[in-house]
Each structure stands twice: as structure tokens, then as C-alpha cells.
């Protein structure tokens, strides 16, 4: 398994777009500065600034979209270069192959959220929107790591869809609809979609200003939702890989 993960990292060196996409982590901190500056608001509660820069659209839109694209790129390029066939000849366990890809997605998610956290602090201080506060920074860091793990788990259905397809078109369409569905189901039911459940976990302490959910927050239900989707995805991906093999 470790060798597989190491090989996956070696393969990444040739994928420039893969690394370029990390720049999108700067997007929301940048927009948060523009948003607060356009209203002439400075010296805000740092958590309010971080809500915009790291806990808002980054969680519901940007990170899931980028992770979805990462999943699709990882699988599409394997299919295109017929690498999978050679891997089955070695042979390599199909679930190990799937989890090695998932590990890359998880690492990518960590990198993305760490960049977002760093950019949020730097942009906040540089623009004068969010003053430096150790307590808020540590809270931001803790939440970012939480988001990284949960987002990677929430994106498992997309990885499974990418595994089951030879092309990239269906997974890409599914990414867009999956994110859109997560966004719209949020006010209706928190425990149907992993991204909606993620926001319930995120808002559980009620410390993030502006992130108030009208439904009762139940962390076990949210975890169960992410768990069910994740397990179903792993099961589906394993069957798809077996069929391909």
C-alpha cells in the first residue's frame, strides 16, 4: 500500500495542472477582502472574516469542485494511458489501488486547506480586515484540518464515479450536480448529502458567526450520512474495478 502511494506521488510530478489548481485556495481569502473592503469594513471579528475566507463557499463549492477534478484527472489519465491494465497484471489489489488514489485526494485536501488558512490569516492582516489573534488562528487551523478530512471523505462518490467511467465527461457533470445538490439541500435536510452534513459538523459549536443552521445539529447523524455515502462509494468502486479487471 505504501509503495502504491509513493508511486502515486511520483506520477504527480508530471501533472502541472494538478499543482496549479492549488492556487484556487487563494480565491476565497481574496474575495473576502474585496467583499469587506467594498463595504468599508475593517477590524472585524477574525472569525467573521474566516467564515467568508475559509468556512463558506470554500467548503460548499471550491474545495469539492477542485477535489472532484483531482479525482477525475487521477482516474482518467490512468485509463487513457492503459496503466490500470498493467497494474492488474502485476497484480495489485483493486481496493488498494482505490485507496491509494483516495490518499492523494486526502493529501491534496490538506494542502488546499492549509494554503487557505495561511492565506486567510495573511490577507486578513494585510488588508486590516482581521486583526492578529492566536486564539482565532488556532481555531481556523483546527477547522481547516477538519474540513480537509471531511471534504475528502465527502468526495468519495465522485472518485467512485471516476473509477467506474473510462471518460471524464460523466464524472465532471456529476461533480457539478453533486455540489449544486449539496448547496440546495442544505436548508432542506442536513443529513441527506455529505457536503450538507459537513456543514452541520462544522457549525456544531456555534462559534462561527453567520453560519447558523435552522435545523437541530446532530454530529452522529452527519457522520453517519458521510459514512453511508463513503461506504457505498467504496463498494461501488470495488465492483467497477473488478468488472474492469
Amino acid at each position: 500500500m505504501l509503495k502504491l502511494i509513493q508511486t502515486e506521488f511520483w506520477k504527480l510530478r508530471r501533472k502541472s495542472l494538478f499543482w496549479l489548481m492549488l492556487l484556487t485556495a487563494l480565491l476565497m481569502p481574496f474575495f473576502a477582502v474585496i467583499y469587506f473592503r467594498s463595504f468599508g469594513k475593517t477590524d472585524l471579528d477574525p472569525l467573521l472574516f474566516y467564515k467568508w475566507s475559509a468556512f463558506g463557499y470554500t467548503v460548499f463549492m471550491i474545495l469539492p469542485f477542485i477535489l472532484g477534478i483531482v479525482c477525475t484527472i487521477l482516474m482518467h489519465e490512468e485509463n487513457q494511458a492503459h496503466v490500470l491494465k498493467q497494474l492488474w497484471i502485476i497484480p495489485i489489489p483493486k481496493t488498494a489501488c482505490f485507496f491509494s488514489k483516495f490518499f492523494i485526494v486526502l493529501m491534496y485536501s490538506f494542502c488546499f486547506m492549509l494554503i487557505t488558512a495561511a492565506a486567510s490569516v495573511l490577507f486578513g492582516i494585510a488588508s486590516g480586515c482581521a486583526p492578529f489573534q492566536w486564539e482565532s488562528i488556532l481555531f481556523l487551523l483546527k477547522k481547516c484540518l477538519e474540513i480537509a478530512v471531511l471534504s475528502a471523505c465527502s468526495i468519495l462518490p465522485i472518485l467512485a464515479a471516476a473509477v467506474s467511467q473510462k471518460g471524464y465527461v460523466l464524472p465532471v457533470c456529476i461533480i457539478l450536480l453533486y455540489i449544486f445538490f449539496g448547496f440546495f439541500i442544505l436548508p432542506v435536510n442536513l443529513y441527506v448529502h455529505p457536503i450538507a452534513s459537513l456543514s452541520a459538523i462544522l457549525a456544531r459549536e456555534g462559534k462561527i458567526p453567520g453560519l447558523t443552521l435552522t435545523q437541530t445539529i446532530s454530529v452522529p447523524w452527519a457522520l453517519l450520512c458521510i459514512g453511508i455515502w463513503g461506504t457505498a462509494s467504496v463498494f461501488f468502486a470495488t465492483i467497477s474495478l473488478k468488472r474492469k479487471g
Binding site: 489548481m21 484556487t24 471518460g167 465527461v169 449544486f180 440546495f184 432542506v188
Partner: protein, 244 residues
């Protein structure tokens, strides 16, 4: 040009992406419908006549359809190089610029059709929910709005599609760029000036989603025409690159 369009239409029949984009449009309409049932902030939004048609348009434009249209356009262009059919086409010989122009034209038509399909679905939803509250003027207003949105969104994303044609095989980048580009429209919509000049929010302004002045509409139209002009310039450069 006719033969190029005919050939592209023939190719489209085999394209699974076409069905997937239709599926995406139906998916958007379904999800906004689900979102409209929320009772957290009072009575369900769907109870208000026109809410469904009003809200589906901006959300589809800001989050999904520009990326889908850019993907469709870039896929149609990139597949020739990807499937290795470009060499055969150049041997015929076929003008690459005309070929790309035909693909762009089809994407343009498809962009309008996607928005009209979205209109048809949302109108159907509104008609089922409250047919008596709908007036002819209201329906015609939305039809015009969706139609204009289809045209404007194509113009807004056309530089991205043209850039993909120029770079070749960079359809991933096209998708990421188009999504970020449309997503940024959420923020530019908050400022009156940016709303007028940023292509994605300008499209919403021209379509009538925002209340804008005549001057702002002219400025937005110029911005979108400039987007179209930029894509033409990129496509011309593509030809010159080949000639050299």
C-alpha cells in the same frame, strides 16, 4: 460552412456529452425545486409565483451552465486532436479556422437551447404549482430573459473555449477556469460597477435579472461583444500559428 455544420451535427448525434448536459440542466432545475421547498425561513419559496423561474436562472448561470457550455465547446474542439482525426481532416484539406468556427457556432446554438430547456422545465414547474398566478407577460419576460442569457453566457465563455482551441488538450483547464470565472460572478454582482463590467454578471444584467440602467446595459453589451471579439482574435491567431 454549411457542410462543416452538417458534419458537426452528425458527430453530435454520437456525443454522450450532449445527453449529459441535458441531464445537468434537468438536475439543476430539480435541485432548485428541492431548495425552494425549504420552510426554515417562513413559507416555502415555491409558493411565490415566479420564484422558481427567477432563481433557477442566476444559480444555473453562476454555478453550472457556463462550465458545462465551456466543457461542451472545448470538448468538441479538443476531440479532433484527442481522437487523432485532426490529421485526416487537415489532409482533406479542411480549414482549421472554419472547423473551429463551426464548432463555436454549434456551441452558441447549444447554449441557447440549454437555457430554453431550463426555461421549459421551470415554466412547467411553475404551471403545475400555480398556473392561475402566471400571466402571459410574465412568461414572455422570462422566455426573453432565458434566451438572452443563453446568448450572453456563450459570449462570456467564448474566450475560454477559444483559448482551449489555441492551447489544445487543455480542456481540464477550461473547465476549472470557466467554473472559477462564473463563480466569481457571485461577488462581482454585489458591486454596481463590477456587475456591469464583469462578463458573467453583465450577462445577468442584460437578461434582465438585475434592474439596470440603459447605459449599464450598453456597457455590458460592449463587454460581452469584446469577449466575442477576443475569442475571434484568438481563433485568428490559431490560423496564423498554423500558417507559419
Amino acid at each position: 460552412m454549411k457542410i462543416f455544420l452538417w458534419a458537426e451535427c452528425q458527430k453530435l448525434r454520437r456525443l454522450s456529452l450532449l445527453l449529459l448536459t441535458i441531464f445537468a440542466v434537468c438536475g439543476i432545475a430539480f435541485m432548485v425545486f428541492i431548495g425552494g421547498k425549504s420552510t426554515d425561513y417562513g413559507p416555502p419559496y415555491l409558493e411565490e409565483a415566479g420564484w422558481y423561474m427567477t432563481m433557477t436562472q442566476p444559480w444555473a448561470t453562476l454555478l453550472v451552465l457556463p462550465a458545462v457550455i465551456a466543457l461542451l465547446g472545448s470538448y468538441m474542439i479538443c476531440r479532433e486532436a484527442e481522437d487523432d482525426t485532426l490529421k485526416s481532416l487537415l489532409l482533406v484539406p479542411v480549414s482549421e479556422t472554419r472547423l473551429t468556427a463551426a464548432k463555436m457556432l454549434l456551441t452558441f446554438v447549444f447554449s441557447i437551447l440549454l437555457y430554453l430547456l431550463l426555461f421549459a422545465i421551470t415554466f412547467l414547474g411553475e404551471a403545475i404549482l400555480h398556473i392561475h398566478a402566471l400571466s402571459t407577460n410574465m412568461v414572455l419576460h422570462f422566455l426573453k430573459s432565458y434566451f438572452l442569457e443563453g446568448i450572453c453566457v456563450f459570449l462570456a465563455v467564448s474566450p475560454i473555449i477559444a483559448l482551449v482551441a489555441y492551447w489544445k488538450k487543455s480542456y481540464w483547464l477550461a473547465l476549472v477556469l470557466a467554473e472559477i470565472y462564473s463563480f466569481a460572478g457571485l461577488f462581482t454582482s454585489m458591486s454596481n460597477t463590477l456587475r456591469t463590467f464583469y462578463p458573467v454578471s453583465a450577462a445577468l444584467g442584460i437578461a434582465g435579472y438585475y434592474e439596470t440602467t440603459g447605459l449599464a446595459r450598453i456597457q455590458s453589451s460592449l463587454v460581452l461583444l469584446a469577449c466575442g471579439g477576443i475569442s475571434v482574435l484568438i481563433l485568428r491567431k490559431l490560423k496564423h500559428g498554423r500558417d507559419e
